[in-house]
């Protein structure tokens, strides 16, 4: 086999420079700044800052509200990840079996992929409008007095629903292509061994989909943690009030609404550590047990 290579040492470095510069300017530099300002208390206008050591972190650890938000974020992430993966897998398996009109089905299922999170949130606002939203009326017809923005659990339900709705198409596309890459021979062999479709799915298809599923798991966790920001901001109409919120939204509320840069920086450092832990977990613990083909 022929190996491609560079004749000089400097050319590859030169070619890497733009990418490295972007990472340094847009990631490392702000990250260092965030870590630095998390140890200070700053006047919003930047006239002065006082070194407060780990006070900002201690305040977070002692804040019952922050822990409540962390707990909500965890539940929210688990629900969004579970339902968007589960529904997408179900739809992909069913769509994979469809022969007639397959293309139209698939297109319709992927459609929502193009919707931006704030737009998805806005659609949620319309669907759950307090006085005439169709989904509010549906809930009322089964005796659930659904009140977006009033009741904590109702608002949380709407957030999960909209977030799942927005994410299912992405997962669907990946699962479907994962299914289609399973060799026909393997499926036919399985068909001879096991007549139960459910049994075949769990014994053969599901393990073969594991690499795709694992990749999607990580993507979905980061989606639920970070990318749902637009949905949450739209659904609470920019007024946090007694509404549920995630850790990322809290960073925004304290830093950009409340102008408390020190406290907000400490929160974003906490999130950075969380992402770091997630990445280590991804590569160290799970990656080894899954075989990519």
């Amino acid at each position: 086999m022929k190996r491609a290579g560079f004749s000089t040492r400097w050319l590859p470095i030169l070619l890497l420079v733009p990418q490295l510069a972007i990472i340094a300017i847009f990631f490392y530099w702000p990250a260092v700044h965030a870590v630095q300002s998390s140890f200070y208390l700053q006047d919003p206008f930047g006239f002065g800052s006082t070194y407060v050591g780990v006070d900002n972190y201690a305040d977070l650890a002692n804040s019952g509200e922050y822990l409540k938000i962390a707990r909500f974020t965890l539940i929210f992430t688990v629900l969004v990840t579970f339902f968007s993966l589960g529904l997408a897998l179900l739809l992909a398996v069913k769509a994979d079996n469809v022969i007639r009109g397959a293309r139209s089905y698939r297109t319709l299922l992927m459609w929502v992929y193009a919707v931006a999170p704030p737009v998805a949130g806005f659609i949620g606002l319309i669907m759950f409008n307090q006085s005439w939203g169709p989904l509010t009326e549906l809930a009322r017809s089964v005796g659930w007095d659904f009140k977006l923005g009033v009741n904590f659990n109702d608002t949380a339900t709407a957030m999960v629903l909209v977030s799942v709705w927005k994410q299912v198409p992405v997962n669907f596309i990946f699962f479907l292509s994962g299914l289609q890459s399973i060799p026909k021979a393997v499926r036919e062999a399985a068909l001879i061994d096991n007549r139960s479709a459910t049994g075949r799915f769990w014994d053969v298809t599901f393990p073969l989909l594991a690499p795709t599923g694992f990749f999607l798991l990580i993507i979905n966790i980061t989606y639920a943690l970070f990318d749902t920001f637009g949905i949450i901001d739209t659904l609470v109409k920019g007024e946090p009030g007694n509404n549920p919120m995630t850790l990322v939204y809290k960073v925004y509320v304290d830093g950009f609404r409340g102008n408390d840069l020190g406290g907000s920086s400490a929160q974003s450092v906490v999130l950075m550590v969380l992402v770091l832990a997630l990445t280590v977990f991804q590569f160290r613990l799970i990656e080894r047990r899954i075989h990519y083909t």
Binding site: L41, Q42, D43, P44, F45, G46, F47, G48, S49, T50, V52, D59, E65, Q130, S131, K147, L148, G149, V150, N151, F152, V236, K237, G238, E239, P240, G241, N242, N243, V253, D254, F256, R257, G258, N259, D260, G263
Partner: protein, 435 residues
């Protein structure tokens, strides 16, 4: 022909060059969307047309919170606008940052504009002033929470608008409920049922002269029996079907009133213009914010809400002269009256109020006068205003706890204890940033 063309072009060129040279351009960042934004643009155009020396460009920056944050970020980057609109809750942040703005009183006097703080109506005079009564921010869109009511609903129930909360809960609300209405909704619990609860009943809102005397050791005084009794009453009204809460958003609480389901709505006097322009299925009027007779028999004026305009520091003398000229134009009776008529915000000067009265504006629309009447009521010791840092976050804490009271997640007692603790922690944090 050719020669003629050249001279015209040359002349035109000379003229544009001349204009570009002489005209000082200044910018104005504001948070007035929709119909209010159009009125803002109209004022800017009128100012630009009124003289040749200055040109102001208004830029819409989103909500009040977003506008303040954008202004702060721009200031830190050295790209601040000349004029920044800052809302009531952000006043402590911007006034505390000495050197971020040029006090409007200094700006006007330095640029030869006559300034007398007593020209301003009493309710708006000191809200954006420092502890020495020097005006720092120019009151712009000033409003106060007032009571709007559906006239047909009142007639059907056989009652008049309540003057006190006692009257509301014993007479007005039961009659309205019997007539098929939810009696009451309101659009801003921290503003209407907290800040203005304090001023209406002349209760202190914070130590250190409501926070005016400095940030050190300022503590909020929100955990008091009068307001806890009020919120306990509100939860009882809610249980009896007299009151409904539709969430923290402003519009969600206003809509049921507009739909005719709710008979009384507490909103901003600045909502008047918007309500008048809507095709409501009923006639509405307005009156003063009710008070508890059990707390006071001499109710006082309320705080102004809305926002003020700050002249940002770091601009040259020519720019500041332009800003002063714009403020002079803005506070002229004609412009104030135009703004008042279009939007429902109160005119900030006595002269403009006189002009509106003489013009018969209040004979035609008596409800338009309610806001300014309320702001002109007798002042008390605690009605000048309040000055608390990180107040946007304190309001968020209030909204959160009030929401929990009204959804049964917490008790009035626990909620106010939580507000007090968290607000004091925020005030202490803010005090640290100011040294």
């Amino acid at each position: 022909m050719n020669k003629f063309k050249i001279t015209t072009v040359a002349a035109a060129f000379a003229m544009t060059a001349n204009v570009a040279y002489a005209e000082v351009e200044i910018s104005w960042w504001h948070a007035m969307g929709g119909a209010l934004g159009e009125t803002v643009n109209q004022i800017a155009e009128d100012f630009n047309a009124s003289q040749d020396d200055y040109k102001i460009t208004p830029v819409f920056k989103g909500t009040y919170e977003e506008t303040l944050t954008a202004g702060i970020a721009a200031f830190r980057a050295g790209e601040q606008p000349n004029v920044l609109q800052v809302f009531d809750a952000g006043a402590a942040t911007v006034i505390g940052a000495k050197g971020a703005t040029v006090p409007v009183q200094d700006l006007l006097i330095d640029n030869g504009v006559n300034f007398d703080i007593n020209d301003y109506i009493s309710g708006v005079r000191y809200f954006y002033a420092d502890s020495d009564d020097k005006m720092i921010g120019m009151p712009f869109n000033s409003s106060s929470p007032i009571l709007y009511y559906n006239m047909q609903a009142m007639e059907k129930a056989g009652v008049t608008a309540p003057k006190t909360w006692e009257e509301f809960q014993t007479v007005t609300a039961p009659a309205l409920k019997a007539a098929g209405y939810t009696a009451l909704s309101q659009s801003h619990l921290p503003w209407i049922f907290t800040e203005n609860f304090m001023s209406r009943h002349d209760l202190p809102f914070a130590t250190n002269n409501n926070g005016y005397d400095g940030t050190d050791g300022t503590k909020i005084l929100v955990n008091n029996d009068a307001i806890k009794a009020h919120f306990t009453a509100v939860t009882e009204w809610q249980e009896n079907g007299y009151f409904e809460w539709f969430g923290t958003g402003w519009g969600d609480n206003q809509t049921p009133f507009e739909e005719g389901k709710v008979a009384i709505w507490l909103g901003s006097s600045g909502s008047f213009g918007g309500l008048s322009k809507k095709d409501l299925p009923f006639d509405f009027s307005a009156t003063l914010l009710p008070y508890w007779e059990a707390v006071t028999t001499e109710p006082k004026q309320t705080f102004i809400g809305g926002a003020s305009l700050f002249a940002m520091a770091g601009h040259d003398a020519a720019d500041n002269a332009a800003t002063a000229a714009f403020f002079k134009f803005l506070t002229s009776p004609e412009v104030q009256y135009f703004w008042h008529k279009e939007t429902g915000y109160v005119p900030v000067t006595e002269a403009a109020y006189d002009m509106a009265t003489k013009d018969g504006h209040y004979d035609r629309l008596p409800a338009a006068e309610v806001g300014i009447q309320q702001l002109s009521l007798p002042a008390g010791e605690n009605t000048k205003g309040y000055r608390m840092g990180f107040y946007v976050q304190i309001r968020d804490v209030m909204n959160r706890e009030y929401g929990r009271i009204l959804t049964g997640e917490t008790s009035v007692e626990d909620a106010f204890a939580a507000i007090e603790t968290e607000a004091n922690a925020l005030l202490a944090r803010f005090a640290k940033t100011q040294n």
